[in-house]
């Protein structure tokens, strides 16, 4: 019979007919299923892409900063020799601006004029004078930081076309800026301030260096505490501990600890380290302790599985040539398990770098400007800085938060890549 024959209703149906009838449907289902799977992957990758794109689009412009060139006359009348540090440097800036735009007369106009330049400009001038007092009574061309509203306008984030009431730069200021631009007095430069300064109230002077140092100090403490203790505990629990109910309970406990929400560790830090021990608030020491407690279970679990993956044949062989148990562990098993342990540690550190919630509880959510130098100086960490800046409504802070996110992600990608490379090069499959 050919395929196109109608089914013979009078005879018994053949299996092949039944199969053929459903075949098209089944193939369709198969194709649909495969499409769904591919769709799922696309969704995941698309979300990743959207996240990165969103951060980069919002943040890349933070790496440039607008500067305005002003001709500053270091007036000796304002700069008295005896009180150079506290002289009126704002006055110098105001005079320079007034010289370029003498038409700003009444109070409101003058205030608008002075708002074009950042308040940090005065400190920049002060630094110059203190470094080299010889420039007093001279006229110099200085590039000073522009105010963050001007910066946003020049970068195109604040639409020029919006009605005046919805803009932060009014029309007159816009005219002045156009004039300055025509005179080549406005330039965008690489934003070193962002990478070298600490937090600030003014977005144009805010930077991530303070938070980066804080993260660095905290992570050092975390590493010093969690790596040796974690590896040692894993070695003991895996190799030496007797296998009874207690050790089972301990294993369950440690596995659970790894899954406990990080905020509970913050509560622990608050109750024990701050209240009971009285350690200083907002210090990298306390942050390091809390994060170490959080990373410990991760390292223990990774180390244990690394130790477990070393085959019994290696152990038996060592014992067979007369090694003691400890020699077997330390001379034969541990070196082979070390790459796995290091990978686990790096991943644990990467997780600790990105943690925010526990550190909020121990007081790192304060306004801290100075760069921390020691382990007991008040400090904040990069993720907490992002959290703090995310609340500020100024447009310039949105840009900087995204840039800080980019920097954080860069650190994390480097650390994870290091872990993967380590794993690929040194791990042996048995």
């Amino acid at each position: 019979m050919s395929k196109s024959d109608p089914v013979d209703n009078n005879g018994p149906r053949r299996a092949i007919d039944i199969v053929r009838e459903g075949l098209e449907k089944r193939y369709r289902a198969e194709r649909r299923f495969r499409r769904n799977g591919f769709l799922a992957i696309t969704i995941s990758l698309f979300s990743l892409f959207v996240l990165f794109a969103s951060m980069i689009i919002n943040g890349y412009s933070a790496f440039w900063q607008t500067y305005i060139r002003l001709d500053i006359f270091f007036d000796a009348e304002l700069l008295h020799q005896e009180a150079l540090a506290s002289a009126d440097y704002d006055g110098l800036v105001k005079n320079a601006l007034q010289t370029v735009f003498p038409d700003a007369q009444n109070r409101q106009e003058r205030r608008d004029l002075f708002k074009l330049v950042s308040s940090g400009a005065a400190f920049e001038l002060r630094k110059r004078v203190l470094d080299d007092p010889a420039i007093i009574d001279q006229r110099k061309s200085v590039w000073v930081l522009a105010d963050d509203d001007v910066d946003m306008l020049i970068k195109g984030h604040q639409g020029r076309n919006l009605p005046e009431s919805e803009r932060r730069i009014n029309n007159r200021q816009l005219q002045w800026l156009d004039f300055l631009k025509a005179e080549n007095r406005i330039e965008k430069r690489l934003n070193w301030t962002f990478l070298s300064h600490g937090d600030s109230r003014e977005p144009e002077m805010a930077g991530v260096w303070g938070a980066t140092m804080g993260s660095f100090l905290t992570l050092i403490i975390t590493l010093i505490l969690s790596f040796p203790i974690g590896v040692a505990a894993a070695v003991y629990l895996e190799e030496f501990a007797p296998k009874n109910r207690w050790t089972d309970l301990i294993e369950i406990n440690i596995n659970n600890l790894a899954a406990v929400p990080s905020i509970v560790f913050g509560l622990l830090g608050l109750a024990v380290f701050l209240n009971f021990f009285g350690l200083p608030r907002s210090a990298p020491i306390v942050g390091g302790f809390v994060l170490a407690l959080m990373t410990l279970p991760v390292i223990i679990i990774a180390s244990r599985s690394a130790l477990k993956s070393v085959p019994p044949s290696i152990r038996e062989a060592a014992l067979g040539v007369g090694a003691s148990k400890m020699q077997m562990v330390f001379h034969h098993v541990l070196p082979l398990a070390l790459p796995g342990m290091l990978t686990g540690t790096i991943i644990g550190m990467a997780r600790a770098l990105g943690e925010t919630a526990p550190l909020l509880m121990i007081g790192m959510v304060a306004f801290i400007v100075d760069i921390p130098k020691g382990f007991t100086d008040p400090a904040t960490v990069l993720p907490v800085q992002i959290y703090l800046w995310a609340d500020s409504p100024e447009r310039a802070f949105v840009e900087r938060t995204s840039a800080a996110v980019i920097i954080l992600l860069a650190f994390l990608i480097i650390m994870n890549a290091a872990a993967v490379i380590l794993r690929k090069r040194f791990e042996r499959r048995w």
């Binding site: 009285g278 200083p280 801290i368 400007v369 100086d377 609340d391």
Partner: protein, 351 residues
């Protein structure tokens, strides 16, 4: 087993030792807590002060005026804060708590005035409110609309149901929690005044103080009033996103974000710098900070920080704080408080 005990004891010592080593170091950074309204001003002053190069930049946390007083009055000592900011005056109960815990020499410094605004997104309709309307919108119990001298749980769900001239929009207000001085000031200046517009409630103030307080100070908890934490910046962002919501915070936040939000009129007065300074806008309150005199010689820089805050180029009419939205005090008052701050005159009583 014995080994285990010995081990545990050794370890315990190790631990305590480690902790003690670090707990013993001295603090040389000024620690400031307190109001989220004064926070933007205090941080600017702190940053400038730190840039001066001589002292470390003070560390400032935004805990709310009430929370700040609690921390401040917990005692004298290195582990307690040195200065607390407040958007209302210290209360008697707080003064007593301070005295009880040994904080007896407190220096009060008023820094300026600030208005409280009821703001919403710029693109949303402008409301013309009265204090009575705000009371009816936000109180826990309001006078029965049918009449009579009794109160019922607040039945008003939309602005229109309170006053036909207001839009037909659900009441949704983001405001400060009880730790905030802004909340206390709002309750005192708006809720109480609005409630007292009913004569019988006003009479209660003399006859039954407790009931009066319960009516005037209670704020509704059914979801129309959301306590939005000590982060006024966040409220501004939420207003931008949610056109129907209103936010209660200090004038400085309105001033600094005038391109995104606008303030409602209260009794016909627009919340502007001039109206608040002249007193025409009815909801304005002074801002303070309080210093522990005992810490002034111990933690370096306290006197100098106070001097920086109270100098004319900071808090005066042309100072950089007024550009941030602070309304300066009249000259005579400024001078008086400046003198008191310089001499660290101790607050004798709150009368």
């Amino acid at each position: 087993m014995k080994k285990l005990v010995v081990l545990s004891v050794t370890m315990a010592f190790l631990f305590i030792g480690l902790a003690a080593v670090f707990a013993g170091s001295a603090r040389d950074t000024i620690s400031i807590v307190g109001s989220s309204t004064v926070y933007p001003f205090a941080t600017v002053v702190a940053e400038r002060f730190g840039k001066g190069g001589q002292y470390k930049t003070p560390k400032i946390e935004s805990t709310g005026s009430g929370g700040g007083f609690k921390l401040f009055c917990a005692g004298v000592g290195v582990e307690h804060p040195d200065i607390t900011n407040a958007s209302r005056r210290m209360k008697d109960t707080e003064f007593e708590t301070c005295a009880k815990n040994g904080v007896t020499e407190i220096v009060e410094v008023k820094v300026g005035y600030d208005g409280i605004v009821v703001a919403n997104a710029k693109s949303a309709p402008l409301l013309k409110l009265t204090r009575k309307a705000l009371f009816l919108a936000l109180a826990k119990e309001v006078p029965d609309p049918k009449g009579g001298e009794k109160v019922i749980p607040n039945p008003y769900k939309t602005w229109k149901s309170i006053d036909a001239s207001l839009p037909d929009v659900k009441i949704e207000v983001l405001g400060p929690p009880p730790t905030s001085g802004t909340r206390d000031a709002f309750v005192e200046l708006v809720m109480e005044e609005g409630a007292n517009s009913y004569d019988w409630i006003k009479a209660l103030a003399k006859s039954d103080v407790k009931k009066h307080k319960a009516i005037t100070n209670g704020i509704r908890e059914d979801g129309a009033y959301v306590e939005a934490g000590e982060n006024d910046n966040l409220i501004v962002q939420k207003l931008e996103a949610n056109k129907n919501a209103f936010g209660i915070f200090g004038f400085s936040f309105l001033d600094q974000n005038a391109d995104k939000i606008k303030g409602s009129l209260i009794e016909g007065m627009e919340p502007t710098f001039e109206n608040i300074a002249s007193g025409k806008y009815p909801v304005s309150r002074p801002l303070f900070f309080y210093v522990k005199k005992a810490h002034a010689g111990v933690i370096p820089g306290i006197k100098e920080y106070v001097a920086e805050f109270t100098s004319d180029k900071t808090w005066g009419p042309d100072g950089y704080l007024s550009e941030k939205g602070l309304i300066p005090m009249p000259d005579a008052e400024r001078k008086a408080f400046g003198e008191a701050a310089k001499n660290m005159t101790v607050l004798k009583s709150l009368k």
